[in-house]
Subunit: 329 residues, 3 copies
């Protein structure tokens, strides 16, 4: 909205770039929105907030030092991957002193990977999005097994492919129906807000609401798509019979949130058609989330936002060949 | 052949597009050939035939709705991945009511992935081939572990990396020689025809013969390459000492069938040189098949036609840098 | 150096191409350097030397037969992947008669993959480097589980993700300090030279020194970067507390050796800036090495030189978007 962009421009440049970096996690090039996101992260937990701050500063400063495009840096494009790297490593790994060094190194690497993937995708005019964050964090998380500073690898909330799935399925289905009929309203309310919050690893209703407010300040359509994505990320896994704990934590929702924002608001021309396409993309993101989670479980890695990245890439590449959305590049 | 192309043009457009979609599984843009393939699938099993029909219709209709190129749709290029998705999911997953929904969703996604990969490979002028089918089916197959509608994941015919491989090898080698000298003729006849049939997941001699007839109607060189690929896919694994059950089911042969058709008939200028190159590609496809099968076995996924896709891509990319086959694009 | 280039030009063409192929393993287009590398390999072990010779000849002859660019062949670009394929398969697999066939087939495939990746990376002007060797050897190594000719799969020196890592870490840390204070000088001397030698799979101090001499003949900056990479590959894993046996064998060092040569000498304009960038790349290669090793351990595959390839690609792609190193292609 106009008033927020006026404030955005009034903020001193170094701060503005950092805030915009945080804002770009949800595609918002707006320092006010980014500031609200950072405040929300500190509300969710001091360590997460500090880690995000260290991350966004490290990755942005690295971009300056390596001489990448000033316009890109100014838009916060070299900040959002670092913003995510910090809280991610602190959620999944042990909180040791070495971890702060890892956050700085990983944020620096995320900037190199960002520039590299921007170069690779440049002829296609497709966004890199959060893929540098995902690839960098995966590498650091699986590397810690080799280093004495860490006594364990990443800890996942999900179980992956359960061995006893056959025996359980009948019992769990009937139990699930019982729970469903009792708690369905509460679960939805929790799951949908947490689904937005989990984009930055916060298991918190209030953080999710603050994120939605921040997005709404930049764009109402953006906030509507985020909310729709969270609803898809709760309804679809319920219909498919996915694990209820994961659904209630919002762990099926944060990827569709990003997919629907990207396809339905940011990267295609806003229309009823692109909204429907975003809905299809959101539904498929839920299945991709389940598939990738089971694929990565044996190696002990979480999906992070890669289901969103994969589905968004497929839909944006495909859209460029469509007579409705494509251009002739 | 000319008479079949006359019939092809006489068939009403919607039917022709569907039939050509089936035909493109073996690179045949010919409705007569496609119709024979569909009939062969129904001969192999009513469910497989129905699943292929639902798949080819879903993927083709999706391409219309998303506004992709009319010429591509008309050539059946948005049909063959759906044709394969249907029987694939029914072979490897449980036959539950949810599975029909999955076949429709996966066929729709295969169309999105097809358009996306066409865009990615466009600057290189390299075909997407069956990669959308493979990637989509892998994702759906590994996703079902998370959903109550399915009580198990995909079931593979192969064992992957056997733990007791050392102990077995001496015994199995001598046993194999005994079997070899007795049944070698029968085994070859079975393995070669089934090798062609397994491209569409049919474990049947008659289906393989019908497929070969269908290909021969479009091109004799195509049928010759398919037959050569099947022979390579039986002889080479026998020489390398691979598992005999897998060889007899044609599971080492369906990938070289497609590789030799692609390299020796469809995508390079037909010549003695490209026939020899196809032979080398076919042999390497057998090794790639073994490697990828062992790589995917721990996660419980079959290779599908990915060995063919990988080897074909390598040879076609490489051919574009050769003074014999390349052009200066 | 000038005298070595005069000799290089005086050597008959077929021999020169083969020697340059060996030289290109360390980015040296210089037959004298390549000859020293080959001699060093034979010093390390007759079989390794023979396997490298068979590999470099097979891959170079294949490039001639398939009609790839004469200039590329003459520079040894179709030789270095074959040079690596030979000793690699002999180190990790059983020494059976079939293995010589595998070395020839894998070297031929490495040439096809080389040409394919050259075509893919051509619009970006990024080198293929040793990725064809890595991809080809991975495929052949995991394939042997399916073939009777081999009674086992590849044998790794590393353990991957240790189950008992928690219990061990306290004990091993104190033990490590004890060892560290006693043997630190010897360990460094051994680890650094072996780190250079392990690029071609030689666990030998003398081979490492011969390699450094060979590189110095082509370029002193190249030799300096190689030595710096080896030091990074010893110091950084010691600081992070990695396994000491692996460090002493040079198994954390051979990848940073190549990364620092590529980033600090071959592919960016030599300057203090690019030397610092090479240092950062070298440090990140150590973490990438640990991550990829743990990722591949369950499937039984070694990282080979892929950590170097990945980090080099990221830094070179990124450099092309930097105002300090990039060009406007």
């Amino acid at each position: 909205m106009d008033w927020s962009l006026s404030i955005d421009k009034a903020i001193p440049k170094p701060l503005r770039v950092i805030f915009r970096g945080a804002g770009q996690v949800f595609f918002c090039c707006n320092a006010v929105t980014g500031l609200i996101f950072l405040i929300a992260l500190y509300v969710g937990g001091i360590t997460a907030g500090l880690a995000a701050t260290v991350g966004v500063i490290s990755s942005t400063v690295t971009a300056y030092l390596l001489g990448f495009s000033d316009d890109d840096i100014d838009a916060g494009l070299y900040g959002f991957n670092g913003t995510l790297v910090g809280p991610c490593l602190f959620l999944f790994l042990e909180n040791t002193p070495q971890l702060w060094l890892f956050v700085v190194l990983a944020s620096m690497l995320s900037t190199v990977v960002m520039a590299a993937l921007m170069r690779i995708l440049q002829p296609y005019n497709i966004p890199v999005s959060t893929s540098p964050f995902v690839l960098t964090c995966w590498m650091f998380m699986v590397a810690v097994y080799s280093f004495d500073g860490f006594s364990r690898g990443p800890v996942l909330p999900a179980q992956g492919i359960p061995v006893e799935i056959v025996a359980d399925s009948v019992a769990s289905t009937s139990a699930w129906f019982a729970t469903f009929t009792q708690d369905v309203t509460v679960a939805w309310y929790t799951a949908i807000t947490k689904g937005v919050a989990e984009v930055m690893f916060a298991d918190s209703i209030i953080v999710g609401i603050l994120f939605l407010v921040g997005i709404a300040i930049t764009s109402l359509r953006g906030a509507f798509m985020a909310l729709s994505g969270a609803i898809v990320g709760v309804v679809v896994p319920i219909l498919l019979g996915a694990d209820q704990t994961l659904i209630e934590m919002g762990l099926y929702a944060f990827n569709p949130v990003l997919t629907m924002m990207a396809v339905g608001w940011v990267f295609l021309k806003p229309s009823t058609g692109s909204a429907l396409l975003a809905l299809l993309a959101g539904i498929l993101t839920v299945i991709c989330q389940a598939g990738l989670a089971n694929f990565l479980a044996p190696i002990g890695l979480p999906t992070l936002t890669f289901p969103f990245v994969l589905v968004m890439w497929m839909f944006l590449f495909a859209a460029s060949r469509s007579r409705y959305w494509g251009n002739s590049n």
